[in-house]
């Protein structure tokens, strides 16, 4: 066990002093859950702290820098790539207690929040004032804004509104050594100096601990409506999706599920679409009530030539929810298909989706595996769940081969290994396939500019 896994007496005294009472945890029982995340990997933290003030984090990062102690910031641990797993030991900093909404300003269209705030809680508070924070990862009800910022989370609405980075105007972070930096501001435009905000967003906890976020708000769209469509096969569905854009419509969300994913959901719940469907599209539009009705008609016309097998439109909140619920059940449903999965969120240029989907289906066939395919195809973002039983070593090896082939395929289509989940531990082995040595070296030097001793989330990402 390396030094990092053992807490020195001095370090323990420091933590007890600055994180009194239940603000620090040292026993394995208490610390266990802080060693894992939605990647299902685990490593025991060296210690866990739960700060409630920025000052505590500053003290901690000064001490950690001086003593070369690894620091792993943690939101709600819902990332799927092992970002919160203290693989080389370290002090886990849970941000859960720093979860206040500091300000909602309906005139400036700005909210200032602490990073531990759960995204859905902010959205609920905003909706009361008819305001809107656009990013909505499927984990919106249980992931934090700090986590969203550090993974640059996407979500259903990204096709129209962009990802988390497009909605962070400014932030405050503590960097190794304990100093506080402020980046950006609260104007919707700002070009003063280098864009440190952008650099921090998506940095997977490797540059500093975010302590405050200034978020861009929009007026809440007056209305939404959803159109669900089933098609004979994947290719037809993806062709229909392309024709929606070609018709000049930018939907709020455009989700896709292929046959195996549909079957998985049907296995645990009733579903609205016909049993023989080869693929389903869920298309949501937003705007004024009139615009929404007009857009739904335009979408219906646009997809006509792809001959949908079934269609259902919904305008009331409850009817819309009924169409979207199966999409949210996909994650739990997947585990009924097989005990284990390798989950990737590859992204390809939108025009290459059909090629990517065909290649993935061929890989599944060749290797005799069930691969669930679904995702935010409005952005070219495909979620690929390679289902298998890890206890069967042959099957596990085939799943690994499938993964390698799919990642290589997507890169050959000018895609990216990850559209929204990040690199973490899970994708680190593949990073060199996407980034050149020059780029990686540059990123390493960027990291060193903030974190010369490599204490922030070591072993992750870059």
């Amino acid at each position: 066990m390396s030094q990092a896994h053992v807490l020195s007496g001095a370090a323990r005294r420091f933590l007890e002093k600055h994180f009194p009472g239940d603000a620090a945890a040292f026993t394995p029982e208490e610390m266990f859950v802080y060693g894992t995340d939605a990647s299902r990997r685990h490593a025991m933290p060296t210690a866990v702290v739960r700060p409630s003030t920025v000052g505590q984090i500053q003290e901690l990062l000064a001490f950690a820098q001086a003593n070369r102690l690894p620091i792993v910031a943690r939101g709600r641990g819902t990332n799927t790539v092992g970002d919160c797993v203290p693989a080389s030991g370290g002090i886990v900093v849970s941000m859960a207690r720093m979860n206040r909404i500091l300000e909602i300003d309906p005139d400036d269209f700005v909210a200032v929040v602490e990073p531990g705030l759960v995204t859905g809680d902010l959205q609920a508070a905003l909706a009361k004032q008819r305001l809107f924070y656009a990013p909505d990862p499927a984990s919106v009800k249980f992931s934090s804004l700090g986590g969203n910022a550090n993974t640059c989370a996407g979500g259903m609405r990204a096709v129209k509104y962009g990802v988390t980075r497009d909605h962070i105007l400014g932030l405050e972070a503590v960097i190794p050594g304990g100093e506080l930096v402020h980046c950006g501001g609260r104007t919707h435009k700002n070009v003063v100096g280098l864009d440190l905000t952008r650099l921090f967003v998506g940095s997977e906890g490797t540059l500093g601990v975010m302590t405050k976020l200034t978020l861009k708000l929009l007026p809440l769209p007056a209305a939404t409506a959803t159109l669900a469509l089933a098609f004979a096969d994947v290719d037809t569905a993806l062709t229909a999706a392309a024709s929606v854009f070609a018709a000049g419509i930018l939907p709020q969300a455009l989700e896709f599920m292929a046959r195996e994913a549909l079957a998985a959901v049907a296995g645990i719940s009733t579903v609205p679409w016909p049993a023989g469907a080869g693929a389903v599209l869920l298309i949501r539009v937003d705007g004024s009530a009139e615009a929404v009705a007009a857009d739904i008609r335009l979408v219906e016309t646009a997809v006509q030539s792809a001959a949908p097998l079934w269609r259902q439109a919904a305008v009331s909140h409850d009817d819309e929810e009924a169409l979207w619920e199966p999409r949210r059940l996909l994650n739990p449903a997947s585990f009924k298909v097989a005990p284990d999965k390798i989950s990737d969120d590859v992204t390809v240029p939108r025009g290459r989706l059909r090629q990517a989907a065909a290649g993935i289906a061929a890989t599944a066939g060749e290797l005799g595996l069930k691969i669930l395919l679904f995702g935010h195809i409005g952005d070219g973002n495909l979620h690929v769940n390679i289902m298998h039983d890890a206890a069967d070593s042959h099957e596990r090896a085939r799943a690994q081969t499938a993964r390698e082939r799919i990642l290589a395929l997507c890169l050959s289509l000018r895609g990216t290994l990850s559209g929204e989940h990040g690199v973490g531990l899970a994708k680190l082995p593949f990073l060199d396939q996407q980034l050149s040595p020059v780029e990686r070296a540059l990123m390493a030097r960027v990291k060193a500019a903030f974190d010369p001793h490599g204490i922030m989330n070591p072993g992750k990402a870059y």
Partner: protein, 455 residues
């Protein structure tokens, strides 16, 4: 080290005919639209990233600075050579490599003029939204390096939001590709985001992959005349809060209207009137509905006149008025300083209200216009030859006020040379030192556009 005759001769041999020390070329590269004059010692017009790499390797070996330059329409002096050396002019790299309708993106060389791409995209039914008022001349490389904004940004976002990936020659001559051709990507630090807006201080952009979107089917414009600037900008705040999403919301104050008077489609009344230019786009019904709601809001808030543009030609005429303003202000006086402060939307009226007293105190003429919808107001200061110190004093006071209002000293033009001495009013010492260390990561020898942005 200065570029002496023997080094210049060597560079000529190594770099070929794109390299020149001809006086006319030096004079042309000595100015941009900042009003500053700083001639370089040589100018290089590369045709490829390889040639740029070669220049950077030579710069490293011989220790001369390199200053990237697009069309030189920058207002902050970013493209001017502060300490001699070579200006790297990208205008010969002006190919549109691809407009890809299936993937909704374009790949371009940095010297492509913004309007050329917008037109090429439109011909394919696609839209590249960033539209700096200089779009007929400025380059996409310059737009990315300054993170340019424009009227459409109130709805569509700034240049940063459309740059998916870049190819960049680093100061040591190495070539990196950042970002992706996809709409999303979270692999690695966001180097694309860091390079956008870096004003040529981190590397030379040699290729851009830009996001395109479906072209809106219809655009409608209307001009609304208000009794004063305050009531105009109060209307702006009301529109932004009202749930309509205008695709342009431009302000022109009385001083601005005065210098374009003969272009106006109405007789300019006396008093402190101000004009708003509003646009909505989308499908025809929606554009009509949105423009209708904005017209109603303008009337409710006391507009003296509401003048819809009946057709494309009249719409273009309104934009011509708007675009003429900065040129004419520039030409109207020997000394000219362009500030482009931005404040949170609700604070625009406070900013506008403070301007007349500010001008009077320093005895200078002020013009206020710009992208009111995102709080970005261009405040231009003019005066006679001896007034430069006064313009700087006024600028300093203006920036202090804007920062008090929760704003920023630059919404889109950047810092360059012109605003460098003010930057520590906005950024903390720690933020500046972090930025310096990032600059050193890319450019340890300090050869890329030295003397810019950071103090």
């Amino acid at each position: 080290m200065p570029l002496d005759a023997s080094l210049a001769a060597l560079l000529g041999r190594e770099l070929g005919p794109g390299f020149t020390t001809a006086p006319a070329a030096l004079t042309a590269a000595a100015t941009d639209d900042s009003g500053l004059v700083l001639p370089p010692e040589a100018v290089f017009f590369p045709k490829s990233a390889d040639e740029i790499s070669r220049l950077m390797v030579l710069a490293g070996r011989h220790g001369f600075p390199v200053t990237p330059r697009g069309a030189g329409t920058g207002l902050a002096g970013g493209a001017l050579a502060v300490s001699g050396g070579v200006v790297l002019d990208t205008t010969a790299m002006n190919r549109i490599v691809a407009v890809d309708a299936a993937n909704l993106c374009a790949v371009v060389e940095p010297g492509v003029v913004t309007k050329t791409l917008r037109d090429a995209a439109a011909a394919a039914g696609l839209f590249y939204p960033p539209d700096p008022a200089s779009l007929a001349t400025c380059t996409l490389g310059g737009n990315a390096a300054t993170n340019a904004g424009g009227p459409a940004c109130v709805k569509y976002g700034v240049t940063r939001d459309y740059v998916l990936g870049l190819t960049v020659v680093l100061p040591d001559g190495e070539v990196v590709k950042t970002g992706t051709a996809t709409r999303k990507g979270v692999v690695g630090y966001d180097l694309t985001g860091l390079l956008v807006g870096s004003e040529g201080t981190l590397g030379v952009i040699t290729e851009l992959t830009l996001k395109l979107i479906p072209h809106p089917r219809e655009v409608r414009a209307v001009a609304a005349l208000f009794p004063d600037a305050r009531s105009a900008v109060a209307t702006v705040a009301a529109i932004m809060a009202g749930g309509v999403s205008p695709c342009a919301l431009e302000l022109m104050d009385r001083a601005c209207l005065g210098i374009v008077e003969e272009l106006l489609p109405f007789a300019l009344p006396g008093g402190e009137v101000a004009l708003l230019l509003l646009e909505a786009d989308g499908d025809p019904d929606q554009a009509a509905r949105d423009i209708g709601r904005m017209e109603a809001l303008c009337r409710d808030r006391g507009a003296l006149a509401v003048l819809p543009a009946a057709d494309a030609a009249r719409r273009e005429a309104l934009w011509d008025i708007r675009r003429q303003i900065s040129t004419r202000i520039h030409e109207s006086a020997p000394v000219y300083l362009s500030e482009d402060v931005a404040v949170p939307i609700a604070r625009i009226p406070d900013l506008i209200a403070a301007l007349p007293a500010l001008g009077r105190r320093h005895n200078l003429s002020l013009y206020a216009f710009g992208h009111a919808g995102d709080g970005n107001i261009h405040v231009n200061i003019t005066g006679d030859t001896e007034c430069r110190p006064r313009t700087l004093a006024l600028a300093r006071e203006l920036i202090a006020l804007v920062l008090d209002l929760g704003g920023t000293m630059s919404g889109e033009h950047g810092i360059g040379l012109a605003k460098r001495s003010f930057i520590d009013m906005e950024l903390s010492p720690r933020s500046i030192s972090v930025q310096r260390s990032l600059k050193a990561v890319f450019d340890p020898a300090g050869l890329m556009n030295p003397g810019k942005v950071l103090p």
